[in-house]
């Protein structure tokens, strides 16, 4: 998955109308809630075979951190 594809997938997971940028801070996103975090954990498991726990995901600061965790 490319970085652009990742950003697009993330937009869908967050059910967001506007596009995302790597430097955006996750906690500042209106859509960032426990349900989105749960969906994101499933997404990492399905697409990157990575098990991330709630607290792992909560410790990420920016969208970029998520891409680094995905290895892209």
């Amino acid at each position: 998955m490319t970085r652009a594809e990742f950003l697009n997938e993330l937009k869908d997971i967050l059910q967001r109308d506007d596009s995302l940028e790597p430097e955006m801070v996750l906690k500042d996103l209106e859509e960032w809630d426990s349900l989105s975090i749960m969906a994101l954990a499933g997404f990492f498991d399905q697409h990157f075979s990575k098990i991330l726990h709630f607290t792992d995901i909560e410790s990420f600061i920016t969208v970029e951190d998520l891409m680094i965790a995905a290895g892209i």
């Binding site: 059910q15 967001r16 109308d17 859509e31 809630d33 426990s34 349900l35």
Partner: protein, 250 residues
């Protein structure tokens, strides 16, 4: 009793007949904009003719069981066409009475397609932030008394409705943080084309009437509660399965 604004848009499935039709007309009359769906264009056209506010009642033909995975995108398209949805009132459904000896997998999947998979995927679509209005939005599903007290021959139907009630509780938990409410209504026998067919098929007329202390249900008995559940007056109610059974009790 309850009032809606024209900018409050509700998707009502099964709106071409019975409980869905009654509910679509009721909330439309109470001020809401309604997207009414069913499979048959002429039945939907008849509904539109009955509406006193037909400029706020839009008909969309859709078979909900054909490809349930397409339903989230369909809801996204409806949102683009009409605007964000305040509510989903899911009344489409099918009943089938068959004993275990007649049950097979293919038939089971076809019944589950409309009575469980369709509402499941409609809910997925509705829950998307880009589709609903957020705080105050709600989903109401018509399940059935068979979800909790199934009769002989209701193994499949009751099973699908029980699955719906169970999943509804999960949705209520998942969506409470976004202030979206999710509930089921579970009626006993209500006089609609579906019930009339059932009674005729099994020659149950008098026998069924006698079972219900308050008599058989009417569409208005269910649609009134559906409208209330969709209104902001029900703001503290979620995760419930309301039984309407005319005192049948056990």
């Amino acid at each position: 009793m309850f009032h809606f604004r024209p900018d409050e848009i509700f998707l009502v499935t099964g709106a071409s007949s019975g409980i869905g039709k009654g509910t679509a007309l009721l909330i439309n009359q109470a001020g809401a904009t309604v997207i009414a769906t069913g499979r048959d264009n002429s039945r939907l056209a008849a509904l539109q003719e009955q509406s006193a506010e037909s400029n706020r009642l839009h008909c969309e033909v859709k078979d909900l069981a054909e490809n349930p995975d397409s339903l989230p995108n369909w809801l996204m398209d409806l949102k683009k066409k009409f605007g964000k949805l305040k509510g989903l009132i899911h009344c489409a459904g099918l009943t089938r009475t068959e004993p275990l000896s007649l049950t097979n997998y293919t038939g089971a999947v076809s019944l589950f397609s409309i009575d469980y998979f369709a509402p499941l995927l409609l809910a997925k679509g509705f829950a998307d932030r880009r589709v609903n209005t957020g705080e105050g939005a709600s989903m109401t599903f018509i399940a059935s008394l068979a979800s909790v007290r199934p009769d002989k021959g209701q193994g499949l139907y009751g099973g699908a409705k029980a699955a719906l009630v169970n999943t509804m509780q999960v949705m209520a938990k998942e969506l409470a943080g976004r202030r979206i409410r999710v509930n089921c209504l579970s009626p006993g026998l209500v006089m609609t084309p579906m019930a009339e067919q059932y009674i005729q098929d099994y020659n149950l007329g008098e026998k069924q009437k006698e079972r219900y202390p308050l008599g058989l249900g009417r569409v208005a008995d269910v649609s009134a509660l559906a409208a209330f559940m969709a209104s902001d007056q029900a703001r503290w109610i979620t995760g419930q399965n309301y039984i309407l059974d005319g005192g049948l009790i056990g």
